[in-house]
Amino acid sequence: MTPRLMFSLFAGVAALIVLLNSVFIVRETNQAIVVSLGKIDRVIAEAGIHFRVPFFQQVLVIDRRILASSAEPEEVLTKDKKRIVVDSFTRWRVLDAKKFYEAVRSESNARARLNSIVDSLLRSQIANVTLEDLSTAKRDEVMTAILAQANKEAAPLGMSVVDVRIKRTDLPEANAQAVFNRMRTEREKEAKEIRAKGDEEAQKIRANADKERTILLAEARKQSETLRGQGDAEATKVFARAHSQDPAFYGFMRSMEAYRASLANPEKLILVDPSVEFLRPLRGSTN
């Protein structure tokens, strides 16, 4: 290999190294800071290919997307002194790369700062509302206030807070047990009421049935007595009509019938005066 060839090879390699060191690519998801000997030279917000002075300038890549950050779940106190575990998450982005680099340097630092900001805001804001309000009407209000305040505090760090959201609001374990007990007793109460109402309904149905039966039978009895009475009346009328044609004969016949029915009985003892009509022929014969 000739020296000339060696030299051109060496020159080529050197040129390539210089070229690679002076060119850098910023991806669509990133922005970059060019640092000249420790001092911020410029911020590159545009994605694409960019140039720098080789060896003297360094490139720091910073994410341009919305980034996630979430603190550990925290136990906080509401206004009505209820303890809840709040698990929040924050979405943020780097708004001003220069400030960001100067203030926090790295993403993990930024997350730590942001978490402490959001954490203290959650504590202070939730302490102002009751648990009921936090669950319902005032939730949006609280979150909006936290977001606004977080943005104010994060702005000097070159960050913009896109959103703070409560992921979970749970009761601490001890309180959860209390809630379970309350839920259980509530349901037991409900079950008892349902059963009692069922029995009430059932008793009403039975009583009603008994009442109807009694009424039904009484009505029937009334009707039957009426019918019997009608029958008796009819019979009486018929008898009266027949007997009134000859009351004397009827009286005689009825008397005879009555004697037969009442006296013709060995249990009866009759003392008879022989002068009665029946015995008159007997007396006449002895006379």
């Binding site: 979970r168 008892k192 069922g198 109807e212 018929v238």
Partner: protein, 412 residues
């Protein structure tokens, strides 16, 4: 920090196998030159390039050396010839260079499947979005493509995981696998705790936004889904969550959609479905007992109704029987009276013909019968009646049969 490798790994594999079959087809933007240029959007004419290379190959083989043309410099240098490296001629190195350049150019082909879109970046800068079909981009390091599925739905499971469940797995959302209580238990508006599982279906609506706007979009969607559901459940009492699932679903989806738009996530929430809404395990038996109580109450009422259904028809039957009996009595009484009246009328008619005789006969017949059957003592003198208190009446009674027999004999 980025997860772009997930998307760029696929097109490389496809580009390697894809373009050989398409040799004859015109490429989307033909260009007469066979030299690669770094300009974006411009594609060399593959066919012409291939022909050129073939010609050069033939030429080289005819004029240059034979032997191991495939080796890339590991052959032993034969040492004589002055105008080549490692003993190979210039033509050989041109051939090798051309081949490498060709492979490099070909690596720019990629295929986008019908349910995908390709997002092309030139030096990291977004340049275009490619639709389905074969596509070309300038090879590395000029352009890169990230392929994103856009039409297929992704299913996110919250509160549970099916065994094969992952972020992009299209598992059956109805089958419930492992429960994740930390996700599924939440606080309702009336400070009860509820256990619910749900799924979120989403698809990429804007690949550019999806790739570039938000770091870790999948985790973001999961966080959003959880917070949206908790927000909605926190606004409602527990019974609402049990009985009004449709409303809960709609509200949670609305919250999610609004936040997704605010973040510029580039996705569309296509559906949000509650899978299971249950009381927590700890109080499940109490809730079940409420249902049991409902059944018990119904049972009690049914039994009472059964009692009513049993006694009322019987009572109606009894009433009908009573009335019928009365009707019968009435009819019988009237008929009997009629009969007796008729009999009396007949007797009277006969009696009227000889009243005295008949009257006497009836009287005597009656007396006959009476005296025959009863104990009769004849007392001729009314004064004798005074002995009556001294008579031993029971004794008399005992001898009654004999006395009667005597009287009978006397009477006849």
């Amino acid at each position: 920090m980025t997860n772009s490798t997930k998307f760029s790994a696929r097109p490389l594999a496809m580009a390697a196998e894809g373009p050989w079959g398409q040799k004859g087809k015109p490429t989307p933007k033909p260009r007469p030159s066979q030299q690669p240029t770094p300009a974006a959007d411009e594609v060399p004419d593959l066919e012409k390039l291939w022909q050129d290379t073939q010609q050069r190959l033939l030429h080289t083989l005819r004029g240059g050396r034979g032997g191991n043309g495939g080796g890339n410099g590991d052959g032993t240098p034969p040492g004589g010839s002055g105008d080549g490296l490692f003993g190979y001629g210039k033509k050989f190195w041109q051939l090798v260079g051309g081949g490498v350049a060709l492979l490099w150019l070909i690596s720019g082909f990629y295929i986008v499947a019908p349910d995908e879109q390709g997002v092309v970046t030139t030096f990291g800068n977004y340049s275009r979005t490619a639709g389905p079909g074969p596509n070309y981009r300038l090879p590395w390091p000029f352009e890169q493509v990230q392929i994103v599925r856009v039409t297929s739905e992704n299913i996110l499971q919250v509160g549970f995981r099916t065994e094969t469940g992952g972020l992009f797995s299209g598992g059956d959302p109805a089958s419930v696998g492992r429960d994740v209580p930390s996700e599924s238990q939440m606080l309702t508006g009336d400070e009860n705790i509820i256990d619910l599982d749900f799924t979120v279906r989403w698809r990429v609506a804007d690949p550019e936004q999806f790739l570039f706007n938000v770091a870790d979009p999948e985790q973001t969607i999961r966080d959003l889904a959880e917070s949206a559901m908790r927000e909605v459940i926190g606004r409602n009492p527990i019974d609402e969550a049990f009985n009004n699932r449709g409303l809960i679903q709609v509200a949670a989806k609305e919250v999610m959609t609004a936040v997704v738009a605010r973040y510029g996530l580039g996705i569309e929430i296509t559906g949000l479905e509650l899978q299971q809404v249950n009381p927590p395990q700890e109080v499940l038996d109490a809730f079940r007992d409420v249902q049991a109580a409902q059944a018990d109450a119904e049972k009690a009422q049914n039994q009472a109704q059964g009692y009513a259904n049993d006694i009322l028809p019987r009572a109606r039957g009894e009433a009908a029987q009573m009335i019928q009996a009365a009707e019968a009595y009435k009819a019988a009484r009237v008929a009997e009276a009629q009969g007796l009246a008729d009999r009396f009328a007949s007797q009277r008619a006969a009696y009227a013909q000889a009243p005295e005789v008949t009257r006497r006969r009836i009287y005597l017949e009656t007396m006959e019968e009476v005296i025959q059957k009863a104990n009769v003592i004849m007392v001729s003198n009314p004064q004798q009646m005074s002995v009556l208190p001294y008579l031993n009446l029971p004794q008399l009674n005992r001898g009654a049969a004999a006395a009667t027999a005597t009287t009978n004999l006397g009477g006849n």
